[in-house]
């Protein structure tokens, strides 16, 4: 027993040295249980977010207003599902199966990004999701490319390449609508009004209220704090909104200085954390709808999975 304890202390020391030296941790390497648990929670949550995120966008595939728009939206949703696959695979390297992740999701034990619990009510919402929601996600994911766990970092590098296309197509939808008719402009403003605050909430609570941040920063799973990432997103996005004539729905938003490149830096108004926690805990506009949809699809597909499995067994035995 004593020997094991000594070994573990030594292993932890080596692990921390690797982290310090920016050497990636790989699936077969020793890692502290809390590191593994943190990653299992974070990566599976990330995978679920990609997959649940297919629903609000999918709501408009059949109504996409042009062939080009329909193709782009289909391709984007397909990308999101593909990201889900990379991330489930990365999470599986930590010793938990995809079936288990899905079970935890269905039982309400695993979360996904709360932003997908808001509804897509007009076509500009598809633009707003690409521009704001994917824009916020990229800000976070660019930083996660340097995360300390190898498979997660590599998944992030692939994902970031596709996400920047998503953000551009979202902004293009908004831009075209702002150049369009009064009705289109009204829809675009309505979309930013409803999606701005949920997008800011995607970065999570303020650093002072974020329970998982300190270990995650120490182990370099997370590379930048919630508030720092949120600031970066705001500084990047506000000028984009202004350029096409959209009003950011924050009366307290103001320029407080310039960064090294001479670009404006902003201070923003208070985020409604009561709403944030309410939606996280289940009482958002679409929480039940999103989860029910996923559960129904999974249950309706049970006979298909059983059939594929039975056929595989039969053909393997031939």
């Amino acid at each position: 027993m004593k020997k094991a304890a000594i070994d573990e202390a030594q292993l932890l020391k080596e692990f921390e040295e690797k982290i310090e030296a920016e050497v990636k941790i790989e699936p077969r390497d020793w890692m502290p249980d809390a590191y593994r648990e943190h990653l299992i929670r974070q990566i599976s949550q990330h995978a679920h977010s990609e997959v649940i995120g297919m629903q609000p966008e999918g709501n408009w595939i059949t109504r996409a207003p042009s062939l080009r728009a329909k193709k782009i939206l289909l391709a984007k949703i397909q990308d999101e599902g593909g990201h889900g696959l990379y991330l489930y695979s990365a999470a599986e390297t930590l010793g938990v199966s995809r079936d288990q992740f899905l079970q935890w999701l269905h039982e309400g034990k695993a979360k996904y990004s709360s932003v997908f619990n808001y509804p897509t009510l007009n076509w500009a919402d598809i633009g707003a999701i690409g521009w704001l929601v994917d824009g916020a996600a990229i800000t976070n994911q660019v930083s996660l490319q340097r995360t300390s766990y190898g498979p997660y970092s590599r998944a992030m590098i692939r994902i970031c390449k596709e996400e920047s296309f998503h953000q551009r197509q979202g902004y293009e939808i908004m831009w075209k609508m702002m150049e369009g008719t009064k009705d289109q402009q009204r829809m675009a403003q309505d979309a930013i009004d409803r999606w701005w605050w949920p997008a800011l909430m995607m970065f999570g609570p303020h650093d002072t209220d974020s329970p998982h941040t300190s270990n995650a920063m120490k182990w370099k799973i997370k590379r930048e704090s919630n508030d720092r990432l949120r600031e970066k997103f705001i500084n990047k996005t506000v000028p984009q909104a202004e350029l096409i004539g959209l009003k950011v729905p924050d009366d307290q938003l103001k320029v407080v200085g310039k960064d090294q490149m001479g670009e404006p830096m902003y201070a923003h108004g208070d985020i409604d954390w009561d709403e944030f926690w309410r939606v996280v805990k289940g009482d958002g506009p679409c929480n039940k709808q999103r989860l029910d949809h996923h559960i129904n699809a999974h249950e309706n597909g049970k006979w298909v999975r059983e059939c594929a499995y039975a056929y595989q067994i039969k053909t393997n035995n031939q």
Binding site: V51, M54, Q55, G58, I61, T62, R63, P65, S66, L67, R68, A69, K70, K71, L74, A75, I77, Q78, G81, G82, G84, L85, Y88, W123, I173, K176, M177, G180, T181, D183, Q184, H293, H294, N296, A297, N300, G301, K302, W303, V304, R305, E306, C307, A308, A310, Y311, K314
Partner: protein, 249 residues
């Protein structure tokens, strides 16, 4: 309507409406990989449709765009077969419908790639590459369904029995199609039909699934007479261009 435009629209509408049905299945697949496969095929089909609409709009010479043809016609002016309108009742229906169309598309595009209309031949050559992958996937699913479990065999057989009556229309040549034979633009559907029959018989035999005894067939789509589903598809698909006719998206 010009025969060539009509012929282009028959092919494009079949691809567009099947793509619509497949895209409805997004986030509803039995597992993530198959969910994405459906979306992927929807994308291939919409790409084919778009190329044909754009060219048909030019041939039509009325200053319309490809999107106008896709989005701004009335139900009576769409010429897809009734088969592709049929709803996504379950995964067996989706895949049986797909299998019937994939086998058709594979042999149809094989022939069409030899069309004397160079544009059609080019579209068909590209579509054939995609159809080669599509047919492999849907034929594999027939084998899995038929030989998998009792339930999967029953569901696939139900889908075959119900959808069979819409398959004959794939081989009914419209007037426009017949008029384009001599010039070598359109292709002989009888040739496609004999290949289709052989392939479908082979796969169903290997899958322990049966061709229905009832040979009753229900055509109409190629003449613009559709099922009740078509109006609902168009209502949803055309929602934004109909409500905001002046908007550019």
């Amino acid at each position: 309507m010009d025969d060539k435009v009509k012929y282009y629209l028959e092919i494009a509408d079949n691809a567009l409406i099947l793509s619509y049905r497949l895209s409805e299945n997004s986030s509803k697949g039995p597992f993530l990989e198959e969910d994405l496969a459906c979306t992927n095929i929807a994308l291939d089909l919409i790409g084919q449709a778009e190329s044909l609409y754009n060219e048909a709009a030019k041939l039509n010479g009325k200053g319309q765009s490809g999107d106008d043809l896709a989005y701004r016609r009335s139900e009576r002016d769409y010429f897809n077969t009734i088969l592709v309108e049929q709803p996504n009742k379950d995964f067996a229906y989706i895949m049986v419908r797909q299998f019937f169309v994939d086998v058709f598309n594979y042999y149809f595009h094989t022939e069409l790639s030899k069309s004397r209309d160079k544009y059609l031949a080019a579209v068909a050559t590209k579509a054939l590459k995609e159809a080669t992958y599509h047919i492999r996937r849907s034929a594999e699913w027939m084998l899995r369904f038929g030989n998998g479990t009792e339930e999967s065999n029953r569901r696939a057989q139900d889908a075959i029995d119900e959808l069979w009556k819409y398959t004959g229309e794939l081989f009914n040549a419209s007037e426009a199609d017949l008029n384009l034979r001599e010039s070598g633009v359109s292709i002989d559907l009888k040739e496609v039909q004999s290949h289709w029959n052989l392939k479908v018989n082979e796969v169903l035999y290997l899958a322990h699934l049966k061709k229905p005894n009832n040979e009753f067939q229900l055509p109409g789509g190629k003449n613009g007479i559709h099922s009740e589903y078509m109006g609902l598809i168009l209502t949803e698909m055309q929602y934004l261009p109909s409500k905001y006719p002046d908007a550019i998206w």
